[in-house]
């Protein structure tokens, strides 16, 4: 642009002010040039966030395995001695046990979930309404409650034995690998169900109809449908696998008589010893990650190169198979039976613990009352912590779901890329490592002196806690969205962009409504999971503001079992209430097009 002064700008001698200004401008221009080359897009912001909230904390924790001195955890700058106990013969057995647990729990949970999804979404079985309304309660049952409930039923002088049933053979089976696997399967099924059901809703029926028209049986049509759901099936299996191998509480509760070591035991030994032995725990984490690599390799092999993009405007909602009376009865029995096992048992365990003044058996003449509940209402461990946890969970759920939506988009890109593999691995790694590892990684990262020196004082703040919660929830949330994201035909977005919307707008207008319901469910899942989350809460909460899970833990540690479990039950009821309100608001106020996909039938 030429200056209209009749005099060229270069003719005048610039003043010192102008000189410094022009220097600033040229610096700014250079800075701008650098940035325009880097192209700061929303994706760049996303990757930066992933780096700081997920990758770096995990990497720093792993680094301690071979360089303890780096983080002040030992004298050596480099050593491999921490790996020796981890990869010795005895420990190899534990690793193998964890692998087997993960595989069986993953496959089992996915199979049950697939059958449930098909029954609920594709048939008119009467029990489907019952299932839909209780599914959320399943998420809120922590695994130790499930284990506790099993124990109450099957232990010596437990409920069943008092009723006169001969349960010793089952007990011997339960207190060992079979029992652990069953509990983990039960724990994983609700999640697998959500992932698969989400994907099934976006699957039109034309594929199954094509099979039937060409002479295939109903079962063959089912197989085709399952085939098209492969990405979500693998997503579900991978997550249940990773959760199973990272589990500690269940294995420990049920294996105190059996000889069944699991990989995480050594990890917790390292953390609980005095002095704390992080290097061994970190080395154990490497071992767990090696199992994750196996899972991912298997997944990639199965999904190689195929496209599962089936969701578009042409998708017609599938019609339901009408069951015969026998069909209705048998399917309802199956569903109710599963619900009793999956939900009834932990509820029984928890309720019996919180209500009984005396022994753990309902059928004795011990008193049942609500004294514990009336007492904890005024407890310092309930009201303020519950409010704080609710605030944090709201924030964490929102951040987690936003990031998970982007992450699931990366994971479902049809072009295989390094980015995709990287995100895939790190997300699953974050699941496979117990929450306490994650939390310690956060302390390592955000308590570093030099981080404080550059002005970031994040450790001990609610902000960091919220971020940690989000990062903790990110992996499973992303995978729950993978099934849906992978179904949306790419031309949906292309059409929006061509007709005038930029990337973000197109995403909001076109993609988000198609995944509105899955996003809502993912949000609620994260909310309820974060409300009662313990390991990250315990290690990262801001001084003076304990989350409700810490309050429960302190009560239980003080031998106030009745009070502690009462707080837990009340928190769960509160979470269920929030879930119910959210669904009500969605059904009431969301545009009809958003609800069309995946309508409850």
């Amino acid at each position: 642009m030429a200056l209209d002064t009749g005099q060229s700008a270069h003719d005048r001698v610039p003043s010192s002010f102008e000189r410094s200004e022009s220097r600033q401008f040229s610096q700014l221009r250079q800075f701008r040039k650098l940035f325009s080359r880097v192209r700061v897009t929303p994706m760049v912001v996303f990757w930066t966030l992933i780096l700081f909230i997920l990758v770096i904390p995990i990497l720093l924790f792993l680094t301690v395995a071979f360089s303890p001195r780096l983080l002040g955890q030992g004298p050596q700058w480099f050593t491999l001695s921490s790996f020796t106990p981890v990869f010795s013969g005895a420990y190899g057995k534990a690793l193998f046990n964890s692998l087997m647990l993960g595989i069986f729990a993953g496959v089992g949970a996915t199979a049950i979930a697939l059958s449930m999804a098909w029954l609920v979404l594709r048939t008119n079985t009467p029990a489907r309404f019952l299932w839909n309304s209780t599914i959320f309660a399943l998420f809120l049952a922590p695994s130790y409650l499930i284990a506790l409930g099993w124990q109450r039923l099957f232990e010596q002088r437990g409920v069943l034995e008092i009723m006169g049933l001969q349960v010793e053979p089952i007990r011997n089976l339960l207190y060992g690998p079979v029992g652990i696997c069953l509990v983990l399967m039960v724990k994983g099924t609700p999640f697998a169900y959500l992932v698969i059901a989400n994907a099934m809703r976006g699957l039109g029926e034309e594929f199954e109809q094509a099979v039937r028209v060409h002479g295939g049986s109903r079962f063959e049509a089912f197989k085709v449908m399952a085939n098209l759901l492969t990405p979500s099936l693998f997503s579900a299996m991978a997550i249940v696998f990773a959760e199973a191998i990272s589990d500690f509480g269940v294995a420990n509760t049920l294996s105190n008589v059996a000889h069944f070591p699991v990989a995480t035991y050594q990890l917790y030994q390292g953390i609980n010893s005095i002095p704390v032995n992080f290097p061994v725990s970190a080395a154990t984490s490497f071992a767990l990650l090696s199992l994750v690599v196996i899972a991912i390799l298997a997944q990639n092999r199965a999904l190689r190169g195929r496209s599962f993009r089936t969701l578009s405007g042409r998708t017609r909602p599938a019609t339901m198979t009408k069951l015969s009376l026998f069909g209705k009865i048998s399917t309802s029995t199956y569903i109710i039976g599963l619900l009793v096992i999956m939900l009834g048992i932990p509820v029984f365990g928890a309720v019996s613990a919180s209500m009984l003044e005396g022994l753990g058996s309902l059928l004795s003449n011990y008193s049942i009352n609500f004294s514990n509940y009336s007492r904890v209402i005024h407890s310092r461990f309930l009201l303020n912590p519950l409010i704080y946890s609710t605030e944090m969970s709201l924030i964490a759920a929102t951040i987690a779901v936003s990031l998970a939506a982007i992450a699931s988009k990366v994971l479902t890109a049809t072009k295989p890329s390094k980015a995709k593999r990287f995100v895939d691995f790190f997300l699953l790694a974050a699941v496979a490592l117990p929450g306490i590892v994650f939390a310690i990684g956060y302390i390592f990262t955000y308590n570093l002196k030099f981080i404080n020196e550059i002005g970031l004082h994040l450790y001990g703040t609610s902000f960091l806690l919220a971020i940690a919660y989000s990062a903790n929830a990110l992996p499973s949330t992303s995978r729950s969205l993978v099934g849906n994201m992978g179904q949306i035909q790419e031309s949906m977005m292309d059409a929006a962009r061509v007709h005038g919307s930029n990337g973000a707008r197109a995403w909001i207008d076109v993609t988000m409504p198609l995944i509105a319901r899955p996003l809502l469910i993912a949000w609620l899942l994260t909310f309820s999971g974060t409300l009662l989350e313990l390991p990250v809460s315990e290690l990262l909460y801001p001084p003076g503001s304990p989350p409700v899970a810490v309050g429960i833990e302190i009560s239980l540690a003080g031998f106030d079992y009745g009070g502690g479990t009462a707080i837990e039950i009340l928190s769960i009821l509160w979470a269920l209430f929030v879930v119910a309100v959210a669904f009500f608001l969605f059904n009431r106020f969301a545009p009809p097009g958003w609800k069309r996909l995946g309508n409850l039938r």
């Binding site: 578009s312 035909q489 409504p513 198609l514 097009g593 958003w594 996909l597």
Partner: protein, 362 residues
Amino acid sequence: MSMESTVKAERVVITGATKRYGELAALDNFDLTIEPGSFTVLLGPSGSGKSTLIRSIAGIERLDSGTIYFGDREIAGAGLHTSPEKRDLAMVFQDYALWPHMSAQENVAYALKRRNLDAKESTRRVLEALDRVGLSAKGANYPFQLSGGEQQRVALARAIVGRPSLLLFDEPLSNLDADLRERLRVEIATLTREIGATACYITHDQSEAFALADNIGVLRSGKLQQIARPEEIYRNPANRFVAAFTGTSGSFNGRVDSVREGSATIILGAQKIECRTTNSLTVGDSAEVLIRPSATSLGQSSLNSLSARVLDVAYRGRGYEHVVECEFGVISSVFATQSVARGTLVEIFIDPENCVAFPIES
């Protein structure tokens, strides 16, 4: 009711467009000029690069090198890639790409957002567009409640409602049944001309291309083979590929006997056939004669006729198409108003103006 044209049509100039996928070059140094207001069809088999090209024009794909100009505005070039929403065009997709959570009316209205009209005007135009494609009664329906043809018509309405200066079509008729295809083809042809936009249309269907186009560009392996009016392509295909792809009912191999300006005589066994030629042929060379469907008729034995036996007869309403077999090969699409029984010996007259000889590609 026709739509008024308020559009300033754009000229599209593509120079040196290249796009690679690994080793494969989807577009190879591709040049193309689309005159404003013209209807250009890019014709080619799958893998010829036509999809890549139209998506690059739309901005959904990035070229590795080359430039694209709309009028005198550079849209894509070295270091420059204007995003799709800023190119002010519209596109009709092969799979309709209607958004399942929006009704037909909402789908069409979406394309008007960038025009920033007030609500009343916007609704009027949307209804006008829907009415123009014959779906004013179905505005409230969702895509899954519409048939394939109806969905594509909604997509068409969506494309034209904003009066874009450039309209792109990505094989929009491929997913429709035959009779619908023809009807919608007419819609596309008339609507585009009514609003006066420049149109770029890709397809692999030769008859579709010929029916729609002002200009046809034939693509093969990322390179433009020939661009010309349909008549020119039909009469004077630039090479064997173009000829074969734009309608052949048979081809014979022979030897060049003599060559003149624009025509040649080819020796087929004991016979000689007169035909056109667009390439340089040398006497004595091996040559291939490609025969257009319009070149053949049943007739008497004469110069430029071949003896053949009828293999198949198909009724076409207007008459009969025969497939015949002669000494040198099979000829299909031999038309006659009366049918000739299978097995009959006939004479096939080959019109020298409608068959073309090419050197045999070694």
